[in-house]
Amino acid sequence: MLISILTLTLIGLGLGLLLSAASRLLPSREDPLVAKVNALLPGTQCGQCGYAGCAQAAAALVDGSAPLNLCPPGGPAIARQLAQVLERPLAQPTPGGLAMPSLARVIAEQCIGCTKCLQNCPTDAIVGAPKQLHMVLEKACTGCGACVEVCPTEGIQLQQQAITLGNWRWSKPPRPNPFRGPLCPGEGLA
């Protein structure tokens, strides 16, 4: 009985020493930010975010290939913390496909020049003097809608950008429909 206890402690001791030596000889070169983000994540390795474990999800978050709200168990709390740590705005998901991004546009009749929207715009995209008609710089506007909320007279609205020769893109070719009925999204070809 004693022999078995002794043997196992002997093996454990030997291996433990080996491991501590190894970890000192080979320091882990890991990106501190990834470690910090990894600490934020719940660490349950549940894989609901589509990555094999939290470490992988943290790396994807840091290099920007994963959305901030990727962690269902973490919910909005984690999303906000991640936005803080990674200094990234919690952008709403932009609709894919042909829908063009929408930009703010001043409606000349209603704008009374109160400069409320001007102060509220996160990227200073609105120019104009008090009591003067304001104007939106299309290049700078990100369509976040902060100005629309504060405008007293609805003088500024979010409008979809017009499709021109410059920003038109080829859309995905129509999927061939080998089915007798309508094409259900998941189904394959002939």
Partner: protein
């Protein structure tokens, strides 16, 4: 006046379509099939018909289950081709449930489960043949000596039905073993190769195919004829068949030089078993073989190596089916690592170095 959704790309197309490709391959198989039917009589005809009809039936069943348009799917002729290929590899007088069960397995599990044409990793015909060989070893290895159609020994129509449908035993006078099976048992019994070969092997006879064997695999020359037709019609590339046959011949020749008493020569290997059928019709199945020419060369050589290993040292007399499946499994890797060199880039993908200006004489080749 013209209502269009913007279409891109070429507005004229090459006339070749998938159904015409498959039809030409089936056409190339017809001589070997007819010879097989002539050689082994009406039961062979039953097997071929059973396989083709059940292939269409199972494909139609699966397509109906997934609610796809029947006409569109059956019209591409890939089911007929799979059924015919499987029929040619079965023993000629196989019972009906071997034919129907094998074709069912090939079409349903081999192809339709993966989502239809073009999605299956393994060649359906070979998959079914391996499954049948493992599941029913006895039925899959009862060979029949040739009994030409109108000779007295050939069974007439009624007899052929009994053979196929209620499995009458093969009469002793006709039962025989294929050359490969015969040689393997003799070698196992310790006989030296020349004695084992002497009695049975005449290259010409084996070429024409007047010998026991699978339904369509016996006549090497007719299969070669079909293969050359496919090459001439540009349906298949020469890379896979040439590298397969050349590697197999080379291996056989090398080992024969090393030890003539226990290793057979190249002609023996090329003209026996399913080698010629595989070289032109099974290895060149586009869906399960690599898409690049370099990949096809490696694919053929790999298959030849595996065929030689299994035939010489393996447990089964014929290794083509296993070799094809194993190389099919490797095809995604071959396609992953064998890519053509892009224009303006080195083989590793880096941009080409600028050629030095003074040596810009046009004659120097641009390759790195």
């Amino acid at each position: 006046m013209i209502v269009i959704t913007p279409q891109a790309g070429p507005h004229v197309r090459n006339p070749g379509k998938v159904p015409s490709l498959m039809a030409k391959v089936v056409l190339a198989l017809v001589p070997a099939t007819l010879f097989g039917i002539y050689l082994f009589g009406l039961p062979a005809l039953n097997t071929v018909l059973l396989c083709v009809v059940s292939a269409l039936f199972f494909e139609g069943l699966c397509v109906r289950l997934v609610n796809k348009r029947l006409g569109l799917v059956l019209a591409d002729g890939s089911a007929v081709l799979t059924g015919l290929l499987l029929a040619l590899t079965l023993p000629p007088w196989a019972p009906w449930w071997i034919a129907v069960g094998g074709t069912g397995f090939a079409i349903v599990v081999g192809k339709q489960v993966y989502g239809g044409l073009g999605q299956n990793p393994f060649n359906p015909a070979m998959l079914a043949r391996v499954a049948l060989l493992l599941a029913f070893p006895l039925q899959m290895t009862t060979w029949v000596a040739p009994a030409p159609l109108f000779s007295p020994a050939a069974p007439d129509f009624a007899q052929s039905l009994t053979i196929t449908f209620n499995g009458a035993a093969v009469p002793d006078s006709l039962s025989g073993a294929t050359l490969l099976g015969q040689v393997k048992t003799d070698l196992d019994r310790g006989l030296a190769l020349p004695q084992a070969l002497g009695a049975h092997f005449s290259p010409l006879g084996q070429g024409i195919g007047y010998a026991a064997g699978s339904l369509g695999e016996t006549s090497t020359l007719l299969l070669l004829l079909g293969g050359l037709y496919l090459l001439w019609q540009n349906i298949i590339n020469w890379h896979t068949p040439v590298s397969f046959l050349a590697t197999l011949a080379l291996l056989a020749w090398v080992f024969q030089q090393l030890d003539p008493t226990s290793y057979a020569g190249p002609l023996y290997h090329l003209s026996s078993g399913a080698v010629m059928l595989a070289a032109f019709f099974i290895l060149t199945d586009p869906v399960t073989s690599p898409a690049t020419r370099a990949g096809q060369l490696l694919f053929g050589a790999g298959c030849a190596l595996l065929v030689y290993i299994i035939r010489t040292w393996g447990g089964y007399p014929e290794g083509v089916a296993f070799a094809v499946l194993l190389m099919n499994a490797l095809t995604p890797l071959v396609d992953h690592y064998f890519k053509p060199r892009q224009y303006g880039r080195t083989r590793r993908g880096k941009p080409l170095p600028l050629p030095p200006l003074e040596k810009m004489a046009p004659s120097r080749r641009g390759r790195p």
